[in-house]
Amino acid sequence: MNSFRAASRIALRTKPTRALLAPRRNYAEAAGPADKIRLSLTLPHQSIYKASDVIQVNIPAESGDMGILANHVPSIEQLRPGVIDIIEEGAGSKQFFLSGGFAVVQPDSQLSINAVEAFPLEDFSPEAVRAQLAEAQRIASGSGSEQDIAEAKVEIEVLETLQAALK
């Protein structure tokens, strides 16, 4: 799992998280509402989407942010911690913060996303994020064990992404 974290760190450095919030071209409108992608978004303890039809899903993949529509080329993407955007028909879009995982686009317009944790973006409290970020930074710059520092660094990375997403 170390390479998992290291990779996500690099990806973070190279891609400012602001890009997440930049206005994006909405492919969904271009494609029309006819085609849909069947999304399963599952956590170990909860399934948020269970094979429901949605129009578009924007995921924070390691190789860059991607928008996935129906009939996407089959691919396996590792996710970094970040915001996943789900555009449903009629219901507008829903945003979740994912702690990383894998998204697999299956050949028959199915999208399976496995993540360890995910919460709706509006459920996060900016104050708590700020407080935890300060705490993690303190540990990272302190003189704890190597493992503590490494863990704090991962924490900082996630919290910074989260903070940027909340703004």
Binding site: S3, F4, T42, V104
Partner: protein, 295 residues
């Protein structure tokens, strides 16, 4: 004269023969009472365990169905790519049981399934989750065991547990070509069968029939594999946990029923014996009275 002289003697004999029997009766009566009490206590315990298991069962089953969706979602990619276990090569068998007993034969089911697998691949390595299977497999195939985990399945399994186990397995640094997880498959509330779930090696994933259809960066494959193993272990743990709780509920239900039967039987025996003792006493009193009237 003779009959008169003979009667007390006879009576004495009769009394002598009754008395030990009577004291015997008293003893068995007390014995029966004691056993009855202990069975009643056992029934109370098994009944409580049954109720505890039933309350846990709903939660365990919910967790299981979530983890099943999770595991299935995670494995869809291997289904679509038609990944198959590789022929030959080094095999690792993960037996997923738990620490606690009193739940019927579900642990020995796993043990039997593992033994069957070991007959096919005698040099496979074994990782055992839970003390029960460790004790059972330690006797027959101790040389195969490379690692075991205690404290598994005490409560509803968490993903962190599964992740730790997967991490430890990768730290063994043996490149297993096939990893097979043997766990109890929850069919219904009364039927469980040992099932196998596979975690594939990178080679196996690469060699699968339809894998070329997917776009993936090579360095992510290793991560995918580790993640998939953790997912599968999590799935197996949750399913095994639900089976265990359900099996415990059934086992305790049966135990309570059996205890109830025994209580009935002993209650009848107790009543009969008491009646016999009372009758005996009455006979004694009446005979005594008749004798003193005679004299």
């Amino acid at each position: 004269m003779l009959s008169r002289a003979a009667r007390p003697a006879l009576q004495r004999v009769a009394a002598a023969s009754i008395r030990p029997a009577q004291s015997n009766n008293y003893a068995t009566l007390r014995e029966i009472e004691g056993r009855l009490k202990s069975i009643k206590n056992i029934e109370k315990i098994t009944n409580t365990m049954k109720i505890v298991a039933s309350t846990k069962l709903a939660r365990a089953q919910r967790a299981m169905s979530e983890s099943r969706t999770y595991g299935q979602t995670s494995n869809t990619v291997f289904d679509k790519a038609e990944t198959k276990p590789q022929e030959g090569g080094k095999t690792l068998i993960i037996a997923s049981s738990s620490d606690k007993g009193l739940c019927g034969g579900i642990h020995s089911q796993i043990t039997k399934a593992v033994r069957r697998k070991l007959l096919e691949t005698p040099d496979a390595d074994l990782v055992i989750l839970g003390e029960k299977c460790k004790a059972q497999l330690g006797r027959s195939s101790a040389k195969n065991i490379v690692m075991n985990f205690a404290n598994v399945g005490k409560d509803i399994p968490t993903f962190a547990e599964a992740q730790t186990i997967a991490d430890q397995i990768f730290q063994l640094e043996k490149d297993y070509d096939n990893i097979e997880i043997i766990y109890n498959n929850f069919k219904s509330a009364i039927s469980y069968e040992p099932g196998s779930a596979y975690a594939f090696s990178e080679e196996a994933i690469k060699n699968s029939a339809n894998f070329t259809a997917f776009e993936i960066e090579d360095e992510q494959l290793a991560n995918l594999r580790e993640y998939a193993l953790a997912n599968t272990i999590f799935w197996a743990l949750s399913e095994g946990h639900a089976c265990e709780i359900s099996a415990r509920r059934n086992a305790m239900d049966n135990a309570s029923k059996n205890a109830g039967d025994m209580i009935n039987r002993f209650q009848i025996l107790f009543n009969r014996t008491r009646q016999a003792v009372i009758t005996g006493e009455l006979v004694e009193i009446i005979t005594g009275a008749a004798a003193s009237e005679d004299s």
